[in-house]
Symmetry: D2
Subunit: 355 residues, 4 copies
Amino acid sequence: MSSSYGENLKLTIFGQSHSPAIGMTLEGIPAGNHIDMDALRKFMTRRAPGNASWSTPRKEADLPEFLGGLVDDTTCGAPLAAIIRNTNTRSSDYEELKRIPRPGHADLTAQIKYGGFQDVSGGGHFSGRLTAPLCIAGGICRQLLAKEGISVMARVLSVGDICDEGELLAPLDDKLFPVVSDERGEKMKELIDTVRAEKDSIGGVIECVVTGLPAGIGDPMFDGMENRIAGIVFGIPAVKGIEFGAGFEAAKKRGSSNNDPYTVSGGKITARTNNAGGILGGITNGMPIVFRAAFKPTPSIALEQKSVDMKAGKEEILEIKGRHDPCIVVRAVPVVEAAASIACYDAMLGRKKEL
Amino acid sequence: MSSSYGENLKLTIFGQSHSPAIGMTLEGIPAGNHIDMDALRKFMTRRAPGNASWSTPRKEADLPEFLGGLVDDTTCGAPLAAIIRNTNTRSSDYEELKRIPRPGHADLTAQIKYGGFQDVSGGGHFSGRLTAPLCIAGGICRQLLAKEGISVMARVLSVGDICDEGELLAPLDDKLFPVVSDERGEKMKELIDTVRAEKDSIGGVIECVVTGLPAGIGDPMFDGMENRIAGIVFGIPAVKGIEFGAGFEAAKKRGSSNNDPYTVSGGKITARTNNAGGILGGITNGMPIVFRAAFKPTPSIALEQKSVDMKAGKEEILEIKGRHDPCIVVRAVPVVEAAASIACYDAMLGRKKEL
Amino acid sequence: MSSSYGENLKLTIFGQSHSPAIGMTLEGIPAGNHIDMDALRKFMTRRAPGNASWSTPRKEADLPEFLGGLVDDTTCGAPLAAIIRNTNTRSSDYEELKRIPRPGHADLTAQIKYGGFQDVSGGGHFSGRLTAPLCIAGGICRQLLAKEGISVMARVLSVGDICDEGELLAPLDDKLFPVVSDERGEKMKELIDTVRAEKDSIGGVIECVVTGLPAGIGDPMFDGMENRIAGIVFGIPAVKGIEFGAGFEAAKKRGSSNNDPYTVSGGKITARTNNAGGILGGITNGMPIVFRAAFKPTPSIALEQKSVDMKAGKEEILEIKGRHDPCIVVRAVPVVEAAASIACYDAMLGRKKEL
Amino acid sequence: MSSSYGENLKLTIFGQSHSPAIGMTLEGIPAGNHIDMDALRKFMTRRAPGNASWSTPRKEADLPEFLGGLVDDTTCGAPLAAIIRNTNTRSSDYEELKRIPRPGHADLTAQIKYGGFQDVSGGGHFSGRLTAPLCIAGGICRQLLAKEGISVMARVLSVGDICDEGELLAPLDDKLFPVVSDERGEKMKELIDTVRAEKDSIGGVIECVVTGLPAGIGDPMFDGMENRIAGIVFGIPAVKGIEFGAGFEAAKKRGSSNNDPYTVSGGKITARTNNAGGILGGITNGMPIVFRAAFKPTPSIALEQKSVDMKAGKEEILEIKGRHDPCIVVRAVPVVEAAASIACYDAMLGRKKEL
């Protein structure tokens, strides 16, 4: 199986890049929760293409139509179902991909797994476009978490070698280029422009912070918050790594400097540092959850690449047509927020299961 | 929930550090597979404590007793069930942990989640000891994969700042200190000795390679090989990060250098490089799966630490008694192999689901 | 949770009676299976209302639009997604149901469970209309099973006290009133006409037979074929009982007459009788699966009924407006076939999980 | 898969009739619940063999040993794990069953499914003995439900044609032969004695009533209370049918007599009758849940039976040695209570999942 996630929620993502529509179903949102549709649309606009020079110029509305689960924009207990119509129809431009797979894409692996029956148009079910329905589900969860005082925020931490500066303390929803230091953001944009001019692409890292989560959320072992978050974040195309708190840096540290000492602040037990990224034994400790996801560079580049002709069984030069994001990381920021929101909301629902 | 994993397999881990026993149940192994018990015991010995200076001196056999699922050591289709008796009984030494939580441990989070009813003895269900039953399940899966020509191998890639050298090309089952370069291994051991002498601990990174997996294994989106492997590897205590292929390095690269060009070799399509770590779109491409897991330093250190008295609501100095692994990474190598084996075998079972 | 089913398939049903659309997603159908859309539409027409005097006169097309999962009507490995637009908009006629619950309906239980936020229009998510998407999924599975030589067929076994005669040996797809004995069917229709004239409704039993299933399908204990079939058949509104093979009659029998003796026929082991209904230990034995589902009479009747005013906390007489099926059993025949097809196809997928 | 059940709980049953042990793991019981071990043992004794003339004379203690999940008999949040040692070792007496399958047993279906690798001794994983670990889990859930004022009680409703009389209003834990009318019970016992003397067996029906469940428990569609209960009750060997409330009788009734009219009693909305068996739309309505399960006669009988020699491919007369329950229904009463308790407790846990 593939396209379902969740323990207390049950999310299913469906559709292909060029199928009649893409969409999602989401079971488990308790009845009586009002969805702010304006806020949801605003959230989704953040990942929509065509907003700026660093993203693909294709302009799409990408706004959801709800088919079920709501009465007057309020959840009624039935599964939520929403779709986004695809305006591009399936084209024959992509048939070639069954013959010559694009390096770094799922063309070859899908060809083998589905015996050539996969939908190749626009990447099919593997397209980054499928993150739009993820943002429907995640945008809703993010709203509901916000009502509980829980903020889910992300930023571009780095593009190539250029890193953001400063700490992420508040959501950057209003920034077109979501970094803490706009100065560093300018450098990143310059790099992206350079890379695009060179018909290439560039990777980057997104950092996500969740504040306000109560301590005691999540479960030991395979349902820890790390497992839950990784389980959905790796569902975002191009993610190749994830780390929590000090992450890979922790592997270089000593216990005496990596352990977060406890203290009492305002009558509340808290930690002086947050190398744990808010999670110990899979369970939240009341500190912010902090994680970083590594995105590889967009595999679609205009430069010539070496591939093979699968039918002829020989090497062939591939030139990819069309326009693509030279750096997916910027548009992926709300997608990471969406994924984290779903994981956290799902875990929050779990804490009430007791008699 | 917490302690179950799998799509085609269903693994449950149970027990606490000082409960009568720890164990596992494993459903889904097809009937008719013979288990090599000697090989399994040998595999499990690799994670057993007390083998060398860098691990805790507590000596335990930790060998499994099978209660169900086998006839003459051959799977019969019923769930496998195996236990390991705990020889240490629950002691009162640990009651103090309910008052003063150890930094870096799950003491505080478990206390909050379970309302003080958690088993504190020896870390309870959060103990690294629970990786022993994981190794029962994983050792079995590793054997069954080997029959298919699939090798699951891991090594200590780094301890602190000291890195191994060379490529991991074959299993290191026979090495007490599983590194490719024994010279680098000596440096690591020295560092571990130093750290222990200083009553401290040190983190490290484990690299795991899976060779021989056919292309086309795994699923898109939430059931990709990355999600599946991360979902179980984060179940190993102390893991704070995971990356596949180029991982976090990919985030610094350009598409032109990160995309793995295809070529034809011996009539077979293959990739010239393996930045993808063997996975594209969540699905194996026939190249080795390569991933690295970051382990934080053992939180139990003999040095004094700052904690709090939860009842009194004030800071308190904590001194942890007993002996602990100064570097968990060495013993965790077979555990990572076990986790990867379970994830890969589970995914392999899925590929046959077709009519 | 509620609206998802399956082990190797993952079916989700969404929508409410008067929401913009109803629909389903279905993961797990292997790629490369062509769907015969004409056959699917013909199958769905069998449950559509308005076909005859014994059903509700509301005429609806109820034909599915596929949004994802197909390329040229052939499965591509991505989840199938299909919707049926609701032409009736949500009306205010139903608000009254929040005050005065209809006996035999889910009005009261939904009111309590969802705190008054449930969608009451037309029964909301509890409407029999939701069996249409079940028929999309089931119609597909039934086609795919037919390719394997597996037939899923059902009939009206009884309406009230009037029983069909003869054995069900072939699908009755072409019969408007699916019984083996048309003569008995006439009697049933007369009874239904009488009941409707008296503003009342009547229950009945549907029998379903699955032929051609290989022996060895299904699992012991909680995933036996009985559990799997019951798990989905009780998802059809109005079902209050299910029995397999001799069923409740077996409870009156002796072992010597209930055990099905084995024999050899045409070189194949088979049973002389089929009291087991084709299932032993949860696993198919190669004989036809036979089960019967008891449907209660449609709770919506035009007769006055005693209910309560939930706000005023006192009894009140309820008169239900609108037209309803006096006997749901006829239209439910393809729904039972759909449910059985999904359960059997799901189990069939499971048998290939082996290395 | 097979041997796991639950949504908020996760129950796994393991072991075979003659494996070293049988047992269960149960995840999801909230921490801090004290288990009354005496009450649990007393509950389990009700299903133990050898208590009376109508059951198999083999005497076994069948009392559980807990390996994990408890501290001082109180749940600690870790999975519960308990085993019962098998004192009978695997014997060669059963090898014959691979050649000549017993009619009515799973011998043939297991042989086909597991390719001859199944454990045949004593029925292996298909043995009624596996209901003992079900009773460990169910006995615990029943205790915890009792704390909430919820009673789960069952009785022998019929043996062959002899039916109990009177309504089941209170648990019959203290009765060796759990019927409401002891006079009818004597008739049943006489019938069982007759049947045993004739080397035969007899089936029966068990009725189960759950009182005190709040309204609003359960979910629509595939997670209704009927689906949940049927999903576990069909896991009890020999069950071939289940019905709720009026059940199959409802199929003969008119809506006007089957609908349960509402009334107000003591300021509370209640129903005047209970044809719904306490469930509407899959959700409890506050009335008792009432269901009946049909048990086929024990397939093991001492009479000669017709079977086949699978290797020789010809008919053969089978004579089953050993002693077996002539009527399993009596000992199955606590098993049905256990199954219902698990289903209800699991559903109860679900109701708290809300923010």
